[in-house]
Symmetry: C2
């Protein structure tokens, strides 16, 4: 990180209200809704320097900085966003938003349904990546941003960035598509389904109407998170971080945690179940399962992405077995077939899918170099210099 | 399969009672116990042609043939065991046994604890691979078999075969170690722990004392089996068998199964929860986690396997990501370092870990060729011809 790199500092979430109904892909519509968001940096006079950051499964609008009353609550992508960081808030106006159906303040299952005066709970509609993008576009209108310099995200967030290029091709200059896949594989869906079944069959789930009872399907949500967490880490990371290390000197022959990996997973599961909402979790896994832009084009991803006009930075990580590099390469191939400008980086990183959240210098250098060219209005893409990531030490 | 290959036909489980207490690795002992077993073929006059088949997680003593009153209940390894089959019951006397702690008739959590007159339930001790082998050795005594021609198994069954070579090196001629690993990786343990947590946190589990209440933690057991099942199949198999196929024409936007893979997993989970016991499942996953012969030798597998005198056939499958070929190669390397006779086959099969249960001609030909040499008293191993699997059509 360059010496000038730092944090955006204390931040404050904001809230926007949208009164026009939003028609959803599931056939239902939502009468009105609120989105919670944060912004970092300054929108320039011609409103051309905005970057939208889309979040993945368990994250939120709190992307960078911290809260004055909760300084340990640092944004989930703080390592990449800030003054002098790869997503440089000295140059860009960066927006994080909690998606519709979320559980961090935007309208979702925990919100009051105006039709009943009760929380939506299990009645909250199933939302899709496309719905989120529609809702984000209204937030852009609200902020007076006609066109984003870039829309970016990792994992499910990258699916939103990709969908932006199809749904609103004229409203973004670039898409940063990190640790993504053009759709979920059967194995991906299978893991999501295990997670859902853990929640749905928890007696405390009560068809999603658990808020009134004051309870929550925390047992199911714990198990759901544990299985998800395994798929975010590489086998290698698990081996080097935990291996077969025991918590105590020897085996105890009980169902209490004996191996370090067991403690770690239980801890992660318990922590998650303490702050995340099960109804939101169910809906986000479904949005993942449903995302499949090539479904309408009979599997032809290039045709599905034909409307896109953006420049693309696509990044994958070698040990990501959830969304493996070959899945990113499918996206790259489709874009190249369409003659789009694409920069593709396959980062040799040991951390599995989680690598997109981590501070890998080659990865960050690639994002920095790409966005530097975006900021300077230089060409990007297959023929541009951004295709070659500079060595980390070469960065100013 | 050769024209003479067929089934062993109708079979009948038998039962052996052992009254001497068995000291277990966990420090407890079991006062007395029964094992249910089946045999196929004829024990020869000098009792030298017996093969012991050890079962994996969810299987039983019912290895081949069928029951007269239940002809659809075919043994789990019927495709490899029978007259003229790779494990040829015209030549070998084959024994299948339900392990101690099992739920198919051998003494286990569902059995009555003589000390209380109630089912053991959650009080049944945690048993290990080593304990199972001890109990199997007593069954061999009971059957008058001093030395097995071979002990064989796949997955957890293979761990038992491997353990036999350390615990009773003089009591077996050969070990067939199929789809095995010298121990579980952190990722393997993690998946087991998710399965256990699904069961242990099911309110119907009641600390394992659920028999009296007439209930069972079927919700947890279903989820446990679903996550396990994903790890038995390869990503490729799932993709080619299910892909993103929908059950109906379009999306339904509900939590009912929409993708074929969801229906399949739910079906597998439900079926399993209908016949398997949760207390047994918990214990078998623990036995898997604990197995680690090199633990006592500071990770030196060769030293751990130093007592072994058997000849070895080790087989792995290319798409097995649960116990990947490199894990089998660790076993092979350790054995070669000890100067053991080892035949190693890495079968290019698309089916993942489950491949060991399937009728792959190259795999079956390798087992047939190896056991043919065993039956004829010819040398096996690295220098023997059995090291080269014949083409399937070359088999008589």
């Amino acid at each position: 990180m360059s010496p000038s790199a730092g944090s955006v500092g204390p931040v404050r979430p904001q809230r926007a209200r949208f009164d026009a109904p939003l028609a959803l892909r599931c056939g239902r519509s939502i009468a009105g809704y609120e989105l919670v968001y944060e912004t970092y940096g300054t929108l320039d006079a011609d409103r051309s320097n905005a970057i939208l950051v889309c979040h993945a499964l368990n994250a939120s609008h709190h992307v960078a900085g911290w809260y004055e009353d909760d300084p340990d609550n640092v944004g989930w992508w703080d390592n990449i966003i800030g003054p002098g960081k790869p997503v440089d808030t000295n140059r860009f106006f960066v927006i994080g938003v909690n998606n519709l159906g979320g559980c961090f303040g935007s309208t979702g299952p925990m919100s009051i349904d105006p039709a009943t005066g009760e929380p939506y709970g299990g009645d909250f509609p199933l939302v899709t990546v496309e719905d989120w993008v529609e809702a984000q576009a209204r937030l852009a209108d609200h902020l007076g941003i006609q066109r984003f310099a870039a829309v970016m995200g990792g994992s499910l967030g990258a699916m939103q960035a990709l969908s932006w290029t199809r749904q609103f091709p004229d409203r973004l200059g670039h898409a940063l598509v990190i640790a993504c896949a053009p759709n979920l594989s059967a194995q991906n869906i299978a893991f999501n389904e295990v997670a859902r079944q853990a929640i749905l069959t928890d007696p405390d789930f009560q068809d999603g109407r658990y808020y009134a009872a004051g309870g929550a399907p925390t047992r199911g949500l714990r198990v759901a998170r544990m299985v998800g967490h395994i798929t975010y880490l590489s086998d290698d990371t698990m081996a080097s971080k935990f291996g077969r290390q025991l918590r105590e000197g020897g085996l105890r022959y009980s169902f209490e945690p004996e191996f370090q990996i067991e403690s770690y997973l239980r801890h992660q599961g318990g922590k998650f179940a303490g702050y995340f909402d099960a109804n939101t979790y169910l809906r986000i896994t479904k949005a993942l399962d449903y995302f499949d832009p090539a479904y309408e084009t009979g599997g032809d991803l290039a045709r599905a992405l034909a409307p896109a006009r953006a420049g693309f930075l696509v990044i994958s990580f070698t040990t990501d077995w959830r969304f493996a590099p070959e899945r990113s390469r499918e996206i790259v191939q489709a874009l190249l077939r369409n003659g789009r400008d694409v920069t593709y980086g396959e980062i040799d990183a040991p951390h599995g899918h989680d690598a997109f959240l981590l501070d890998d210098p080659r990865y960050h250098a690639l994002v920095a170099a790409y966005l530097d060219r975006v900021a300077r209005g230089l060409p990007t893409g297959a023929s541009g210099e951004a295709g070659r990531a500079p060595e980390p030490e070469a960065r100013a």
